[in-house]
Every structure is written in C-alpha cells, then in structure tokens.
Symmetry: none
DNA sequence: TTCCTTGTACTAATGTCGTAGTACAACCCC
DNA sequence: GGGGTTGTACTACGACATTAGTACAAGGAA
C-alpha cells in the first residue's frame, strides 16, 4: 500500500504539498478508484516516515476539496467523482491554460511538444 | 532580462529553490551561455518581487557549485557549460515534476490522466 | 580621489513547516 | 459495555524561509 504514494525527499517542496499531489495523481491515473480506502493517517505516516499530523493535514485538505470522505473510527475513502460545479466550457478553458503553461515550461527546458507527448504517454503506460 | 527566469508563486517550493532551478535550467537550455552576466542581485529581486538576500543566497550557492563566478562591484557571470549546470537527468526530472504538477492541477479540475492525454493529443494533432 | 555600483554580511522579526506527544470523539466488533 | 481503531484537535518546540534594513568591501569610471 505504501507503494501507492512516493514522495521524493530531495524535492524541496513541502512534504504536505508533495503528498497531496501524489494522492491526487493516484486517483486521476486510476490507481485509486471511488470507494477505495486510503491508508490510515498513522499507517501512511509510518510508511513515509513523516508525522501523522502532516498526513492528517493533507487528508483534511483533500476532504475540503471533496476528493475524499473521512469518517472517524473508520477511515478515509476516495469519493465518486462528482459532476463539476463549473461549466464544461470553463473547465475546458482552464485546462487549456494549464496546457499552455505546461507546454511553455517544457519548451523552456528544451522539450518539443512531440517529445513531451511521447514522454507522457510512455510514463502513463 | 527578467523574462529569463520565472518563478511561479503558486508553486509551494521555497523561492530560493525555484530560482536556483530556473537559473540552472536557463544555462542548460542554452538561453544563458558562459560569459553572460546574470542580472544584479538587486535588479532580479525587483523583477521577481523578492528580497535581494534571497537572490544573493542563490547566487552564492551557484558560485559554490562552480556554475557562476561573482565579483563585487562588477556582477555575477556564468562560467559553467550547459551540462554542468543541469544534467540530462536533471532536465528529465524537472519535466517529470512539471508533468506531476500539470496532471494534478488538471485532476483538480476533474480530468483524469487519460482525458488529459486525449485532450492534448487532439489539440496538437 | 570621489562617486556609484555591485556583492556580501549581518541582525531582527515574522511566518511556515514539521515534529512529538497527548487526548478525545467517533466508529466498529465482540 | 469494553476494547481497539480511526480521524481530529491541540500544544509546544525547533528549524527553516523570507523579509527589511543596514553597513561594508570590492570594483569601475570619471
């Protein structure tokens, strides 16, 4: 279960941010599905060698965002993807902006669009 | 000149880490070459709206790493070749981090990884 | 020599992060 | 009801990041 999420200790990003991102990606990539239970706060803290409060902070934030649902005494579960409140056009526009920035940043690293796509596809498989 | 480096305020990574990365990658990508002068500590601080000490910290670290050479009263100059500033592995890792952030942000909009890939492919042909 | 520019050094303050430890409420099972 | 598990809340602390402000040393130009 600990292999679901990894955080790179050499990455200077704050731990809570890395963990939140890892959990979001696990869900978006299908490794975690609606109804799946996340590791307990205490277990994940042990697995990742971090403090339980740090895990709890992330779980709380993900619950606030509607990504998970938590129940005391039971655990924390991935919720079904709800239909988004924002309209499809808004979301599509936002996605496009994200794409633009991503592709620009990758270009600044010297990667062409084709290289980026190839890298993403390879990574997903 | 300020367009040489950008740091994304929404990225939770510490500022000094983001700036160091940006400078290293600017060199690795060829946007900065050996002999080029970096912006002054004060100028870059103004451009990026951060404190000059934070810039100075990065410049000091880059000098310790042998990437730049600094002279008081004169300025800070690139001395490294592209491969010294950032290896291919560094660039790949950076791309992966960009991907992580991009995919997590898209997930926050409700898009799965598959959906994002399809959107990108369709968009770019 | 003087003046300006540049990097460096330093102090103090504030906020953020991560932690350890503890306790309690909610839940489940016997 | 009792025991175990789970998430939440809280305090206190140290480390770190960032800042503002200041001063000085080194360098260059006039």
């Amino acid at each position: 279960m600990a292999n679901l999420f990894q955080i790179d200790p050499s990455d200077p990003t704050p731990i809570y941010a890395k963990l939140e991102r890892a959990i979001r990606l696990a869900i978006a990539s299908g490794r975690l599905n609606a109804g799946d239970q996340l590791p307990t706060v205490r277990q994940l803290a042990v697995d990742l060698r971090i403090n339980a409060n740090t895990v709890a902070k992330v779980y709380a934030e993900l619950e606030r965002a509607g990504i998970v649902a938590t129940r005391r005494g039971v655990g924390t579960f991935v919720v079904a993807r709800r239909s988004q409140a924002a309209s499809t056009r808004d979301r599509e526009r936002e996605l496009r902006m994200l794409e633009d920035r991503f592709l620009a940043d990758a270009a600044a690293l010297g990667y062409s669009v084709e290289e980026v796509l190839h890298h993403l596809i390879k990574r997903r498989g």
